[in-house]
Symmetry: C2
Subunit: 310 residues, 2 copies
């Protein structure tokens, strides 16, 4: 297993404060925390802010669980780009005797992996991944394509870190647009500007940047260079803790990556394109606590009004 | 891997109806579904009904993700009782060359399990499991113990089935009571009666039954007999589809199972006991669609008023 990425001093201090205040609850595993009531309240209000901002688009509501079909992950080539981040699900496959041996080892906290076999499931790495096969199964898109609100979905990235803003399991607030290339690009561009406004209005100092995904290995560096050159990914970043700003939202134009994998076509039979946006809800929540303090009752009135409005 | 438990004809018909109506979205894996907007609306209203019913207890709000510490699962002996239901999380551990080989195999949908190694994480098997170590870390309980509302948490059970009411990943609406033995038993008994009222008021025909957990193997049969004799587990059941009623809520007295594992003590140093309740939100939601029809606008007024009240 890879080591844990160490926290910078201010990241470690921020985590301590959040834990001390019971906003985050330690579990013994870096990057995996429980959440206290105030943390969840803010996280849900940020999610609702995004819902209100996108309400006029009348997106179709779909929700997917934090595990998905392994076959689908294989189909879209996730293991080419991000083998280091994927989580696969294993389960017991043996006899009663093997179960007893597995239990004995586990109760001594020794290795019981040999009794586990791969299942049909993996952890969902991004909230939009299960959307594409679900839409593909319906046949050609309706005229104008579709907008899918995938809600606030738990996603997994295997990157243990001491930075409280780099979690292994966190909520992405995700919306997906599938349609003609120009349509989905315009939608992506609209939302990246809207996100800057939304996050600015709740008191975060944010910037929009051209970005790249954390592709794996040497070939990944070429993928990243191509992605940057084509301006396929934008991120909204803000300073939380650590030497660099942290991405809190991303706006991604996938071209035909998902539509060619699943054969998603426009109403007239031409190839559709996709774009998605994701708000990192825990990162935004932590940024808000960092900016406005740990007592939500004492937050600025305009921020409270914006978040808790109905 | 174990086979998929086949659906009875009426279970298969119910699943088809739910999928046809886009209330459930198929993913290619039995027991793993996306959820449409109306399904989620009902599920969240059922969760809110439980919240309102328990509001007077002013529980502390804690939320935990769908993955938890493997060490904690080992500590509480889950693999003794339920090795067949556990899901463990594996991840990639190799070189760039191995990543390339893993990707090649995965893109042909062949076996790539040899490149995956066990991580520190498992899927959360019950929403209350992460609560106990979190409370233990605080030291002795305050006078009167604690009541923890663990919200609606995704939990995993590796039991693929064609029955739409037997999911591999679903939401438990869970509340936990930790305190003196008499206190937690009285709380458990109060809630099992309250649940019968709550579910009856939204039009479900329910019954309260003494129940057992699905313990593994031969020794499991003895555990189940002992559990039944001591009346440690009650379930509220209702007829959904299939030959037998389906459990939709459970009320569990754990005695010192969790408190002895984590050393949770009362304020005076005596050993605490625990109880928990869990409402199976998807099962209740499916039972409501089965009972009142697939169009929520056409549900009986009193049911709608009860669910959508503010």
């Amino acid at each position: 297993m890879p080591g844990v990425r160490p926290a910078s001093p201010d990241q470690a201090a921020l985590l301590s404060e959040l834990v001390e205040r019971r906003l985050l609850i330690e579990t013994g595993v870096p990057g995996v925390y429980g959440r206290g009531g105030d943390f969840e309240d803010v996280r849900e209000r940020v999610a609702a802010l995004v819902t209100r901002a996108g309400g006029d688009e009348e997106p179709e509501q779909l929700r997917f669980p934090p595990v998905m079909s392994r076959h689908d992950l294989e189909t879209v080539g996730y293991l080419k780009s991000f083998p280091h981040l994927a989580g696969s699900i294993f389960a017991f496959t043996g006899s009663e005797g093997q179960a007893a041996e597995q239990y004995e080892r586990a109760s001594r906290h020794e290795d019981w992996s040999e009794f586990q076999g791969m299942t049909d499931l993996v952890l969902t790495p991004a909230a939009c991944y299960p959307v594409y096969p679900a839409i593909a199964a319906r046949g050609p898109l309706p005229a104008g394509g579709v907008t899918i609100d995938a809600g606030s979905s738990y996603v997994f990235r295997h990157e243990p870190s001491g930075d409280p803003a780099r979690l292994q399991i966190f909520h992405q607030r995700e919306i997906v647009r599938i349609g003609e290339p120009e349509t989905v690009q315009a939608w992506r561009d609209l939302w990246r500007n809207r996100a800057v406004e939304l996050l600015g209005a709740i008191g975060l100092q944010v910037q929009l940047e051209i970005a790249t995904d954390p592709f794996f290995g040497r070939s990944g560096r070429m993928l990243a260079a191509s992605q940057r050159e084509q301006q396929l990914k934008f991120e909204v970043v803000t300073q939380i803790a650590g030497p660099e700003p942290t991405a809190v939202a991303s706006f991604n134009y996938h071209q035909d990556h998902f539509t060619s994998a699943y054969g998603i076509r426009l109403a007239d039979g031409a190839e559709a394109h996709t774009a998605c946006l994701g708000f990192g809800l825990e990162r935004i929540t932590i940024a808000l606590f960092r900016e406005h303090g740990l007592d939500i009752q004492a937050w600025p009135t305009d921020v409270r009004d914006r978040l808790w409005e109905r």
